[in-house]
């Protein structure tokens, strides 16, 4: 019954009702990331205005984990500052790569803490990280 704990209600909710989905104008950078082992992919755009993330828009296909992670990322990053959002990315990455032994900082992660169970499934960690790595890449390119 371990997988059930991975499919948290919050993850399924974001999967079925993705937040901020769709590619929007204007944007400063657009990236396309794929996970070749499973074919999941995402195209992601960021718009930054004087240190603030004005918008994160995306389009992608893949499993519930990869798609829900993109939706949660949108919620956390859009409207935040670049610096704060990158701190969340770092904490999320630390959680995902912790093989289930890392205690997540809920203060920093907010809803993204629901992905803690995914860290126990090495094959699925890349799914959760796909959008977040794309976001980090896009932010770097936007500056």
């Amino acid at each position: 019954m371990i997988a059930e704990s991975m499919y948290q209600e919050l993850i399924l909710e974001h999967y079925k009702h993705p937040q901020g989905r769709g590619l929007r104008e204007p944007y400063d950078a657009e990236v396309h990331h794929v996970n070749p082992t499973c074919g999941d992919e995402i195209t992601l755009r960021v718009k930054v205005e004087s240190g603030k993330v004005a918008d994160v828009s995306y389009e992608g296909q893949g499993c519930s984990i990869s798609q829900a992670a993109a939706s949660v990322l949108h919620e956390l990053a859009a409207g935040s500052t670049v610096v704060d959002s990158l701190a969340v990315v770092d904490e999320f990455t630390r959680l995902m790569q912790g093989r289930g032994t890392v205690q997540a900082d809920e203060e920093v992660l907010g809803d993204a803490v629901a992905f803690a169970g995914v860290a126990k499934f090495p094959a699925r960690v890349k799914c959760a990280l796909l959008a977040w790595m794309a976001y980090k890449d896009a932010v770097v390119r936007s500056s």
Binding site: M1, A3, C63, S64, C127
Partner: protein, 423 residues
């Protein structure tokens, strides 16, 4: 159901009685990916490694003789299993991919003066849209090397080869036609005779990728009438690391060696070499000795159970599975929905009753972690076929001689549960 004592067979496969963590029983529905191994194969390989192992062909001592005899004996068994007119037509490779690469490499090869293998601009290679990547990429390479054109048969909505343009597609420019004996995704058993007849008319050679056929039904190469077949050991209760290319002797004689190295030569000078006759011409280096011996025993095992009985059992299981899966609303089988000209590979997509697509990776994850059901998810090394159907991936259950209707029932229960999680 009768004809095959599945409970007795299951006892031969130790892994089928193991428990997965959390006390889950194992329900193995992934034999199209790789099959499990009976104790007979495991013991024979252990025995050879323990008591008889040495190199083959070149070790002139007692163990060398025993090892060589066992290795060559495996070749005899495989030749008999597929009805090869000569044992020298059976070439051991690493897998089916290597076997197909070996044949593709002979085309347009400047070392090859035989007209039938000449390949250049204006010539054509024909494959199909339902191929495994192993029967696509080697031919892409051959086309790129030679300037020849790669063409392919399409696939119908039902998952059959579209032969409506056969006479145009296979024409005087065609040098080789390579296609799957049975699809590893759709389960479709392809009709060989019309393609073969047309290939003969235009003088093209024919290769069958029989990786999904040889494990599941009687295959007789003389009866098939094609020029080459490729298959692999690990899908037919044998070990991984051993595959087979069968080819007509006179074609193998006309082909250049593939890999250069030990054992494939007749004589070597510093500036040139002459080569051993087939099969050794194509078996450079120390071969997978114990794996070949294991495959020989796998063939004994399948023969003892009886290939006609295996085919019949899988036919019944497939009918049962198609019926049971068709009762799940939101499940769409990708491939023929009837058992006619069809094997026990069933791929599908799944929606919730509310019409929401459930990604195959999520389906596979829950089936595995909650029920111990092993299926394959993804594009199954047949990406172009999935693109053809406009889907990124499918869930695939593939059946073999040791599977039961109870396991199919468990799959159905598992899929209902998956729908509940995502509903």
């Amino acid at each position: 159901m009768d004809g095959l004592d599945v409970e007795r067979i299951r006892k031969d496969f130790p892994v089928l009685s193991r428990e997965l963590p959390g006390g889950r029983p194992l329900i193995y529905l992934d034999s199209g990916n790789s099959s499990q191994k009976p104790v007979q194969v495991i013991e024979a390989m252990r025995d050879h490694l323990s008591m008889h192992y040495s190199n083959v062909g070149r070790a002139h001592h007692a163990l060398g003789a025993e090892s060589t005899e066992a290795y060559e004996n495996a070749r005899d068994k495989i030749a008999a299993f597929i009805g090869a007119p000569s044992r020298d037509e059976v070439i051991f490779t690493k897998n089916a991919s290597e076997a197909i690469n070996l044949v593709a490499y002979a085309f347009g090869n400047p070392l090859n003066t035989d007209e039938r293998f000449r390949l250049g601009p204006g010539d054509e290679i024909v494959i199909t849209e339902m191929e495994h990547h192993s029967n696509i990429v080697p031919w892409q390479f051959a086309a790129q090397r030679s300037g020849a054109t790669l063409r392919w048969f399409g696939v119908t909505d039902e998952g059959r080869l579209d032969l409506s343009n056969l006479d145009e597609l296979v024409n005087e420019r065609t040098k080789v036609v390579a296609f799957a004996h049975q699809s590893n995704v759709l389960g479709t058993v392809n009709s060989i005779s019309p393609i073969l007849a047309r290939a003969r008319q235009v003088g093209a050679l024919v290769l069958l990728d029989s990786s999904q056929a040889v494990p599941h039904k009687p295959v007789d190469v003389a009866e098939l009438g094609v020029d080459f077949i490729a298959f692999t050991g690990h899908k037919m209760v044998g070990p991984s690391g051993i595959g087979v290319l069968w080819g007509k002797a006179e074609l193998l004689d006309a082909m250049p060696p593939f890999l250069g190295g030990g054992e494939m030569i007749e004589a070597v000078w510093m500036d040139r070499s002459t080569f051993a006759p087939a099969p050794h011409k194509f078996e450079a280096g120390t071969p997978p000795i114990v794996e070949a011996i294991g495959l020989g025993v796998a063939v004994d095992y399948l023969t003892d159970v009886g290939m006609p009985a295996i085919k019949e059992w899988e036919h019944q299981l497939t009918g049962y599975a198609l019926q049971a899966l068709s009762e799940i609303s939101g499940l769409r089988v990708i491939g023929p929905r009837s058992v006619v000209s069809r094997g026990g590979t069933v791929s599908f997509t799944l929606k919730t009753p509310g019409g929401f697509d459930i990604h195959p990776h999520d389906v596979g994850q829950i089936l595995d972690d909650v029920f111990g059901i092993a299926v394959r998810v993804g594009h199954h090394c047949a990406r172009p076929l999935h693109l053809r159907f406009g889907i990124p991936a499918t869930t695939r259950a593939s059946l073999y001689l040791y599977n039961t209707t109870d396991e199919i029932d468990a799959l159905v229960r598992g899929l209902h549960h998956v729908q509940k999680v995502f509903g």
